[in-house]
Amino acid sequence: MYFDAIAKIVAERTGCDVADVKPESKFSELGIDSLDTVELLMSLEDEIGIEIELDQKVETISDLDKFIQSKQG
């Protein structure tokens, strides 16, 4: 589960309250475009100390969480 880490970074980036970031929140609704998600992932790499390569489109926070988990095997 990387939800907390993702939510923290999203909140930092967008200036919204971390409690407003839900697993089902769409990045587009949070004002984060697809290029931003690439950058977000970079910050996440620093935060949780793993290296991940985003090779598909992710729509929601939960999508990204699952994607990272899948890459962690």
């Binding site: 290029l35 690439v38 950058e39 970079m42 390569e53």
Partner: protein, 242 residues
């Protein structure tokens, strides 16, 4: 001007890439030479960058047309230099022949190195540039890609492809402060182009002579620092393709 920046130059062991490496090194950039060939050639270029321009320089042997090899090389560059700020996609080959007689493999190989190689390197460095919110990509195209050239359908297609790649990357990454431009050299004397003194096209060059590698290096130096220029294709061709 480029102090503290790191520039990756593919095909940097000789020809245009070598000249571009010296130019960027003279402007203060650390240099990562990526080349498929004998690493001793690249090492010589690195040695000159270090001795004459007092910058860091390292050679990496890599076939840029191989997606995974390009990925590994960029990872190694990141490990050695921390990050990268400039990418010059210069690696290129020719397999000339008339289209009606061209072997399939000669078409595929040229596209793989010249066009896909550039994509591979951009694909794997884009993350670094996005993270830095700064980056400069320079793709070495060719006037052959702008106006066509008999006997070079594969090469011209790859170089025209680079123009589309350049403009798209420029649009995609502009919001992140990353610029992407192309240089379209005309007839330049290098090992790859060989002796062209008998080429009738020479008479068509308004400036009346072939260019040299330093002419292209100057353009690369300009684009590396031209902070308001992106998506441009800069002809450096003595006027032949205007």
């Amino acid at each position: 001007m480029l102090n503290g920046k790191t520039a990756i130059i593919t095909g940097g062991s000789r020809g245009l890439g070598e000249a571009i490496a010296y130019k960027l090194a003279s402007m203060g950039a650390n240099i990562a030479i990526v080349d498929i060939g004998d690493v001793s050639l690249s090492d010589k270029v690195c040695a000159k960058c270090k001795d004459e321009y007092k910058v860091e320089a390292k050679a990496y042997q890599c076939d840029v047309s191989n997606f995974d090899a390009a990925k590994e090389t960029v990872a190694n560059i990141k490990a050695d230099f921390g990050t990268a700020h400039i990418l010059v996609n210069n690696a290129g080959i020719t397999r000339d022949g008339l289209c009606a007689m061209m072997k399939e493999e000669d078409f595929d190989k040229v596209i793989a190195v010249n066009l896909k190689g550039a994509f591979n390197m951009i694909r794997h460095t884009a993350g670094l540039f996005i993270r830095n919110r700064e980056g400069c990509i320079i793709n070495i195209s060719s006037v052959a890609g702008l106006m066509g050239n008999v006997g070079q359908c594969n090469y011209a297609a790859s170089k025209a492809g680079l123009v589309g790649l350049t403009k798209t990357i420029a649009k995609e990454l502009a919001p992140k402060g990353v610029r992407c431009n192309a240089i379209a050299p005309g007839f330049i004397a290098t090992d790859m182009t060989g002796n062209q003194t008998e080429n009738p096209l020479l008479k068509m060059i308004p400036l009346g002579k072939m260019g040299d590698a330093d002419d292209i290096a100057e353009a690369a130096g300009y684009l590396a620092t031209a902070k308001y220029v992106t998506g441009e294709v800069l002809r450096v061709d003595g006027g032949i393709a205007m």
